[in-house]
Symmetry: C2
Subunit: 376 residues, 2 copies
């Protein structure tokens, strides 16, 4: 059935062979090098820690640096994913050498952004839970995601900006304000560490070795001799099948039943994060991404927009983000010497994010059950 679906959405798939893979990998490698150059030109500080005081008014430098770091991760993921899906067509030694290095790179570069996004998500939730609808929009720093400003955030995330006071949170309860300050402190510290790690990584010989390999890839893709005439369709179809199998194993009937209260079942269990029940969903998220990249390879950059895949993928991203935010709230609640009011707010916040997890599963189920656009 996976094969059938692929053929229908892509009538030309049969004709696409190894050359298309080479073309795709060259394009992604070129994009990687372009992003790397841009990143170095715009500060090269990892892309997410502009100097103190550099807000929206300070020019486009920091924003460009963020965009460059994102583009770097984006192409690293695509190269790595394509090497995985189309493994039989590529020189196995080369492939097995570069894949873990690309995974290391995108993981290291992504961590800083992840901590920042997690903090934003948790602070926004704290405000929402406090009935604060009009958020004070302050300095929009380079890390602001999707145009949303971080509410009540102290400016200048250049270093660990410890929130000793609780500024501009007059409308929050003491507990919510303290919980926000605690999360800000902990996640800013984690982000700062991730920033240092990313900087070190970008200056390391390990990184230069990856960059050199990608530079070679931009001109010369190490295909196996047989690859030029080999069809890509079956390998992409296999990726889709792995995705379908993983989705089939998900508890989708439960997820499609609103308010099933499943995601919070271990909300108070002694076992800390991460929730074991989230694992299969995270796995589907990765498989869906791999399949999406495989479609890109097949369509040579002209992949038609598959709204179903897109929506399902967004739901799984939201699932991952909420899962990790819930874990961060639970983790913060284990900080010694916090007040009961702080702990209470963190408990509400944890449960709220676990319900976001449940909502994301519902959204995925809704998106997934829709028929593929071109299917009969």
């Amino acid at each position: 059935m996976a094969q059938q679906h692929l053929d229908q959405t892509d009538p030309t798939a049969e004709a696409v062979a190894g050359d298309a893979l080479a073309q795709y990998l060259r394009a992604q490698a070129t994009e990687f090098l372009r992003a790397l150059r841009l990143h170095r030109e715009t500060g090269g500080n990892g892309g997410s820690a502009p100097p103190r005081g550099s807000g929206g008014a300070a020019g486009d430098g920091p924003q460009e640096s963020v965009d460059a770091a994102r583009a770097l991760r984006r192409s690293a993921r695509r190269i790595s994913g394509s090497l995985h899906t189309f493994r039989p067509l590529l020189d196995p030694d080369w492939s097995e050498e570069i894949r873990p290095e690309l995974a290391w790179l995108s993981g290291t570069l992504g961590l800083e952004h992840a901590y920042q996004a997690r903090l934003e998500r948790l602070l926004l939730a704290l405000h929402r839970l406090s009935g604060v609808t009009a958020l004070p929009v302050r300095t929009v720093d380079a890390l602001t995601v999707g145009g949303r400003a971080l509410p009540g955030k102290t400016a200048g995330p250049g270093g660990p900006a410890f929130a000793t006071a609780v500024p501009e949170r007059g409308t929050l309860t003491v507990g919510a304000a303290k919980a926000g300050a605690l999360l800000e402190r902990q996640l800013t510290l984690a982000r700062t560490r991730a920033h240092s790690t990313a900087l070190q990584a970008l200056g390391s010989s390990r990184f230069h070795a990856v960059a050199d390999k990608v530079a070679v890839l931009a001109s010369e893709v190490p295909l196996t001799p047989a690859a030029h005439g080999t069809e890509l369709g079956p390998l992409a179809a296999a990726a889709e099948e792995r995705l379908d199998d993983a989705v089939t194993a998900l508890p989708l009937v439960t997820a499609g039943h609103p308010y099933n209260a499943e995601a919070l079942v271990h909300g108070l269990s002694p076992e800390p994060s991460p929730h074991p029940q989230d694992g299969p969903w995270h796995q589907v998220r990765l498989l869906l991404r791999l399949y999406r990249y495989a479609r890109e390879v097949l369509h040579g950059g002209d992949a038609p927009l598959d709204v179903r895949l897109l929506t399902a993928g967004q739901a799984l991203n939201r699932h991952r983000d909420a899962s990790e935010a819930a874990a961060a709230a639970a983790q913060a609640a284990r900080t010694p010497r916090i007040t009961p009011a702080t702990a209470y707010a963190l408990g509400v916040l944890h449960a709220d994010q676990r319900h976001e997890v449940e909502a994301a599963r519902f959204a995925f189920q809704q998106a997934w059950q829709k028929q593929p656009v071109n299917a009969p």
Copy 2:
């Protein structure tokens, strides 16, 4: 439209006049007196605080006492509700005198049961949130509702059974166990006070005055002279219209959108319970009950089962219960000198119950949007 619906579901409504109301009120008054007699015979201790140690093995006395108290409240509500809906047909002085007294009685008698049910709901939720699926079923005392035993509950709710230890909660975290013990202490104390109040009420001259009035009602309903020929249909239709209007004012579009996160919007706001947003839903619950009683009057005890009304009513009961349980968890979190772990568990519990509130609104919306069975 309300009128139309009423006529369609009940083609004989036109013919039902004041005499049917008199018949209904006499029957409810007789039921009230029967329940009162049974209640006195079976212990007369308010029906919900059997002596320490009297469990399921101690005979049916306590269970009968609970049933009697419930029947007493049930008929008191029906008499009071019918007096309200069919006010123009009844002697206004008499009606205005007895209605608040019946409301006082059912309110006073219901409080003890409400505290008990709230504690059960919260303890069950704590276990669910701890991933404890197999609940230890222990002594099923007279208060057990719907056959569900109270998990890990100390036996003998005859007095304020302070849970000093944390028995049989080995699978809970310290925080969840302590939160459970705190809630058990606070709600058992509240229930014990409500029990005393109910006992006092049943022994008061105020109660005897109500009972005397109901005894008169059982043989002689003070209808106005014109009531005998007056149709009941329009008055029942007006009750339905009041219900429809109140439902129309509810945010049903939001409620019908799963995971709208609306119920927790004030989860951390400084304002303690009750949530102002719950008010309109509580109001609809009361209006739905009034309309249900009006249908009973019209059909003279043979009211066809309206699954839609029934389901909608159950959703609103669940809404009320979850709303009050959430408030009790928030209230418990304000207890001085609790540990952060306890407060965290109470925060998770509060959020969980507020999501139950949201789930109940969704369930109501789903039930309500279904067409009435006999409508075109």
